[in-house]
Subunit: 882 residues, 2 copies
């Protein structure tokens, strides 16, 4: 999958979405782009030529064919447009959603048919009831595990991380797409309490990524980084929209769940694609004769003239608050189950060996408990998720006068009715059992979401409250002449929205229920309950998706809470790291080596000099490594040797001949550094320009004893993707170089070491390095609140703190996260140094600023005279890297 | 209104929302804050003391009183919380909305009663019908004009500008609030085709601003800049929410209309406040016995089981496309009317003299045309806006079998029925007349919006299409056994959403109609129509609010269009201004003066030196002025004189004595600069530290002949608020200084001039200036698309372009606007230099980068030797200011 890695590389740019890094890389990108365009220009004459020829040909149908060709060309030119892409995306996703729904319904019907056909023998019935989902889930888990383990789980946490600009490997590939679609179909077909909404967000995103790669075959602008993010955001909306046929709710939900800042500019994309997708999804149902016309997925028929009484609002508020606690409990339970499974070493080791045992076991337990003739009869176990929702949103009141005897349970409603039990008992058992079952089932390593199970539990809880109210006030609350009975179905709608809102920390579940039920008459109760549920849940637990992000240790930035004021008082200077490594413009290669050893930062600040500390830019860690390795490369060593032998005819030899040029002389003298440097430069430049298309970091030839240690250490401390591959490439290259060395290099290791020591004492030549000329800068006084805003707006992972051009520190995502979580959990004092509260009154900070400026000014007055390091402010003597 | 100016000052910080300007000002803010906190600590023992005493007192009710006091303290501590603020805001706005609705309904009823009571005489009837609105509108226009002209119009354009971080004077004051509420009530009470939605956004924002100022009396954190913006955004949502009782639509509409980037973090605020507000608004209606329970404002009763047929969708699409054209036409017409009124000099002069004539005239024309016995009978003239909507959303079909005779028009429906005419004719006349009437009426200088009139026109157009469809397919389209007749009311809902969406360029009007009608069954037709209408309208015209922003010449940033690819190819280097003025660290005061004369930029870049051009920070124009004026101040002149007389006992005198120290000697010698500078510095410092609480910019004493010219020029070229007040303060101070001068200064004007010339040759001491240490930087390769994103994300108005620390140019909102509008109107080539398209292939840019870095490096190697200016890259010799 060569194109996959390309897409990954393209996505890697997204972290730099907002600011001007990778200048030279952009340069090479521009070069490639230009080359591609030139190639296209070479290509386009080909389709044009026949039409031009046709105009001259005398046939009768020639004009038609010219016209057709022009149409074709016009269509191809339109392929690059956004709306074409969005329509295609919507269409594909609607088809996928409908096909999956069809397959799932078939699976569920097959189970029911098997279960129904074996009604002579309870044991056989049980075997069928239990084996079927176990096989499906086990297959789903195994299939996903083998094809693409990235397809496991909801996918929303990963999409949130990707939309933040972080590159997750293999998350948007065709393999993952196939694994997710098939795995999800099997998982949902098993009848377990799993949802399809989260995975659908992931599927839609993969679909968008694949589609954009496909369309780029026709030419177009699909490589743009910013556009990719915009399209992924729209794809998330499509995912939710075509899953529930809820375009508006889909857009809002995807925004709430995946974004921290949202560009209103991109709003229409989501609406357009989600509407089209939902439309096609429902039209397919009409064409399939499932429906007479386009209506809501779970249509309700509550009365319109008097949907609810004002005095019922407290009951709705109770649902909201209880759902808030319930949602927080669900997130907590889900996390604890995962953590428990991880912590139990013995269980863990056993399960790791037999990966499919855990899913099978969970499925076995859950399906045993829902077995209709067994315990399932007390919890409507025979109903599928969809049937459960339909019955819960039912228009009738189940419990008239407290006892359910009067009412005839028709059709699927019968499942809720137990001859020796009460509908209340059934509902309570259902809620309790489904609660832990759903929390457990969503930890199975199959593609699955938690939204729908939670939605169903919420609906059941709402129904319970509604039935209780109906039993309490049989003739309604209204005191006037008209009798308006209480509608328990409305309570179910409110409960569903509230609980799913609490678990996901979203308000837009309200809109989703309106679109799902096709009625908006309960808007105020739903809104009140959802907001209360959110308020309670957000103050107790993170959202389910954030919880998964933390469990999976994905990079994240915690949200600032509801009105914590201390965040306005904490400043960058309280949280920043002052002791950071840096690279100066006049440093030696030895300094680079030391900085690489001493710090783990991914990008190093480049300052003018250790005295002035004026920030000029930042340089990637990999770039520093490349600089070092090229300085210590065998080519340069050979060149040095060669230059000693043939200092006069160096220009005659080609680069390839340089590489295999064997000089039999061994150098032992150490020439004076400044004398060596000047003549070296042109030769060095030639070496660099010899492979013009080589990637700047990876293919730099690595060798040398000192460097080997360095690189091994690097790879151990920071096993990031880029470095890992660079390391492997370096290894490979090193082997080939060792061959060369055997062939030609006659230096002894001692001599090499000596030469390397020499080389390290030279000044660094930055001309071949990629330098980000404008890294993001903050000042010391920037508040935590602002810093959080900037980090989440621009998707930063670090920023340098400067004071009038001088580098004084750095803030990374880690510090910010620590500071926010510290200040939110009441440990805000820890974050803020003890003196911070007195600082404001002493005005020492403004003094420090003035002092710093004065020093800079004084320095300037003295015409750049060398000065002893930082005698002034205490924040000036940031220690040099080691 | 002293507190108003304070609020203005507080808002002034919002332009710097995201980045670290005003460092020293924040320092003084922190000082004030600390002082306030200390004061509060001094205060709090007072309420605590009685409770402590009470515990020792022996009364029986003492515990109760302790408890009550604790409760009170707890409540006061809660006042600072966000949710208390939001609840209060929602409550107040609901009350305002309800009271205004009540007043408007009373006004309209009074008109109807007058008109009905005079049915004996048509002339009298006409007089009553016409005079009543004319008087109301004239009063409204006059009242607004006198009290607060800022209250005129919708307010959404202004709120959009304010939320972008721009300070608009007097837009959020109590005076404007009163003017807007009373003016709007009168305007709407007149029955003109005006809306209340736009003004309500403004009213809610003012309410939020006033409320936060009121609550800050109790102490709290209401001064925070970022929080103010968040609360204003929530207030906008409340405005729409309580106007239509549409919380969700309100939040979404306000986001779409006022924001470019939206923080999901603030989402809940809007929902919370808008829901509470809508709830109270509707509860008030229930308590007032207008309604039986909480329902939608314009409740519809369409059938649920078969809302529309799939084959009706083309008709809905036609409504959408036609609405798109109609919406664009409305915006165009509205703008043309305003421009026509401005351009016609004679009309303009006449109207300027008699400001109230234009409103009166317009009202007269419109009310004459709607006079029910006159032309009004053909356009349902007697119906109020609300009644019109109710009838248009009616469930019944008016035109059965093409002729409307069969159907009985009951109640207010009768207005649409004309005995000698057709309901189609009535509808067409209504649409055409209302269209231009609404476009004209919204240009009247009264507080008014255009949303509602457009909404009504859209509903009428939808109804027209619906009635036509019903006439065309009397038994519905469905071919199966069931007959489902066409519901023209549904078409009216679709039309209303589509036309209002087209005019405002929003999708959320769809949600608003669902909430207004209480039915969501037409979701797909509405979404399709709204999206199509938006697509058409956005490609033809700006939104109504953006159009007004342009007419009013408010600062704005145009949106990037729907998928214009060229924006990805234009780079900052193509649009930036290269020839910018700058301040160097080692410049003289004369250079400052020259820079101020030569450039109009609001903030000047501070670079290390003209050779290195390393950007250190930026300095406000006002600061540069203050530096200059303090250098040329009479105090310093007196000090110089004094120092010559008493060089030994300068430390003995207090600051006040320095000010009035009269030295009778006159200086004529020009001391050597370096000799003078050193002894001056401590004295200078003391003068600066003497008034520790003085604002840094405003109170700097202005005097001197050279400076006077300078400042006058400043005030003329850039009459911004801050400078204006600074200028006035300076004037006042100058007068007092002139008195001093008369008292003490015995220098002749020639001597003063000579002294000033001396002073101008000194090096600038920046230690007292506020310097923004981290102005926003871009690099040359940043694409236009990214630049736009950054500018709108961070609310910037300018950014410096740097290349490895070196300043190479600047981009301001103006350049960006020019570039975007150029590239959008097909003049993209102008923006991009001719060579730009070839640039990518030659890779000259990366070369330039390397060259620049090499130069910097070489310079550094030569140990800061002075170098001739920019012999290398052509982008290096950025000319110095002038």
């Amino acid at each position: 999958m060569a194109s996959d890695s390309e897409a990954q590389r393209a996505l890697q740019y997204e972290q730099t979405l907002m600011y001007g890094r990778y200048t030279q890389d952009l340069g090479t990108f521009a070069k490639d782009e230009a080359a591609r365009l030139r190639l296209q220009e070479g290509d386009t004459p080909r389709p044009r030529r026949p039409s031009e020829l046709l105009e001259y040909s005398q046939g009768r149908c020639a004009p038609c064919r010219v016209c057709a060709l022009q149409c074709q060309r016009f269509l191809i030119s339109k392929v690059g447009e956004d709306w074409v892409f969005l329509i295609l995306l919507g269409l594909v996703m609607a088809l996928v959603s409908w096909a999956m729904d069809f397959a799932i319904a078939t699976c569920l019907q097959a189970q029911k048919w098997m279960y129904g056909g074996l009604d002579t023998n309870v044991l056989l019935q049980y075997m069928a009831w239990v084996t079927y989902p176990t096989v499906l889930i086990t297959f789903s888990a195994g299939f996903t595990q083998i094809l693409a383990p990235q397809a496991v789980g909801s996918g929303i946490p990963e999409m949130k991380t990707i939309l933040r600009g972080v590159v997750l490997k293999e998350y948007l590939t065709l393999k993952t797409f196939v694994a997710k679609v098939i795995g999800l179909t099997c998982a949902l077909g098993s009848g377990m309490p799993l949802g399809k909404e989260g995975p659908f967000v992931h599927i839609a995103s993969m679909c968008a990524a694949l589609l954009s790669r496909f369309l780029s075959l026709f030419g177009g602008f699909y490589e743009n980084e910013a556009r990719n993010i915009e399209m992924l955001a729209a794809a998330c909306a499509v995912g939710v929209g075509c899953c529930f046929a809820a375009p508006i709710g889909g857009v809002l939900f995807s925004i709430e769940v995946t974004s921290t800042f949202f560009a209103v500019r991109n709003y229409w994309r989501g609406f357009f694609a989600a509407t089209f997708s939902a439309f096609i999804f429902r039209v397919l149902a009409v064409w399939n004769k499932d429906e007479e016309t386009i209506t809501a997925l779970f249509k309700t028929r509550f009365r319109l003239d008097f949907p609810f009484d004002l005095q019922e609002l407290p009951a709705f508020a109770v649902i909201g608050i209880a759902s808030g606690f319930g949602g927080a409990l669900f997130v907590y339970l889900n996390r604890k189950i995962v953590q428990f499974m991880r912590r139990q070493k013995t269980i863990n080791r056993f399960l790791m060996k037999k990966r499919l045992l855990f899913p099978a076991l969970v499925t076995l337990i859950i399906s045993t408990l829902t077995f209709p003739p067994g315990f399932g009869q007390f919890m409507a176990g025979q109903l599928t998720q969809k049937d459960t929702l339909v019955t819960l949103f039912d228009n009738q009141t189940w419990a008239k006068q407290g006892i359910s005897n009067e009412f005839e349970y028709l059709g699927i409603l019968e499942a809720w009715h137990h001859p020796r039990s009460n509908v209340f008992v059934t509902l309570i058992v259902f809620i309790l059992m489904k609660f832990w079952m759903s929390a457990l089932a969503t930890t199975i390593p199959v593609p699955c979401g938690a939204f729908m199970p939670v939605f169903v539990i919420g609906a059941a809880f709402g129904r319970l409250v509604g039935e209780s109210m109906a039993a309490w006030f049989p003739d309604g609350i209204h005191t006037d002449s008209n009798i308006y009975r209480i509608v328990p179905g409305g309570y179910a709608v409110v409960g569903a929205a509230a609980l799913s809102g609490a678990v996901t920390h979203t308000v837009s579940t309200a809109v989703i229920v309106f679109e799902l039920t096709g009625q908006i008459s309960h808007i105020l109760p739903v809104m009140i309950a959802v907001i209360l549920a959110n308020a309670v849940a957000q103050s107790l637990q993170p959202s389910l998706y954030d919880s998964i992000i933390r469990i999976k240790k994905l990079p994240y930035l915690p949200e600032l809470g509801w009105g914590h004021h201390e965040k306005y008082n904490v400043r960058v200077e309280d949280i920043m790291v002052r002791d950071i490594g840096y690279v100066t413009l006049n440093c030696k290669y030895r300094d680079l080596q030391q900085v690489l050893h001493s710090t783990k930062m991914k990008s190093l600040p480049l300052v003018e000099s250790a005295e002035s500390m004026i920030l000029l830019g930042s340089i990637e860690r990999a770039q520093v490594g490349a600089l070092l390795s090229s300085q210590l490369s065998p080519q340069r060593r050979l060149l040095t040797l060669r230059q000693k032998v043939l200092p006069e005819d160096g220009h005659r030899l080609s680069d390839s001949s340089i590489r295999f040029q064997i000089s039999t002389e061994t150098s032992s003298g150490t020439p004076a550094r400044p004398a060596l440097r000047k003549p070296l430069k042109p030769a060095l430049k030639r070496v660099h320009s010899s492979p013009p298309d080589s990637p700047p970091a990876g293919s730099a030839d690595h060798a040398g004893i000192a460097l080997k240690n360095l690189f091994c250490a690097n790879a151990a401390t920071e096993p990031t993707e880029a470095q890992g591959t660079a390391y492997h490439k370096a290894k490979r290259v090193r082997i080939s170089i060792v061959e060369e060395m055997i062939l030609g290099d006659k230096m002894t290791p001692a001599e090499i070491l000596e030469w390397e020591e020499q080389q390290l004492d030279q000044l660094v030549d930055f001309s071949s390095a990629k330098i980000d000329p404008a890294p993001f800068q903050l000042v010391e006084h920037t508040s935590l609140h602002k810093t959080h805003t900037i980090f989440s707006l621009l998707g930063l992972d670090h920023a340098f703190v400067t004071s009038i051009g001088r580098l004084v520190g750095m803030v990374s995502l880690k510090e910010l996260r620590k500071a926010i979580e510290g200040s939110l959990t009441g440990k805000g004092v820890k974050v803020r140094p003890p003196l911070a509260s007195f600082r404001d009154s002493t005005a020492s900070t403004t003094e420090a600023d003035t002092t710093a400026l004065r020093q800079l000014w004084d320095r300037h007055q003295h015409h750049h005279m060398p000065r002893e390091a930082g005698p002034g402010g205490d924040d000036e003597d940031t220690p040099k890297g080691q």
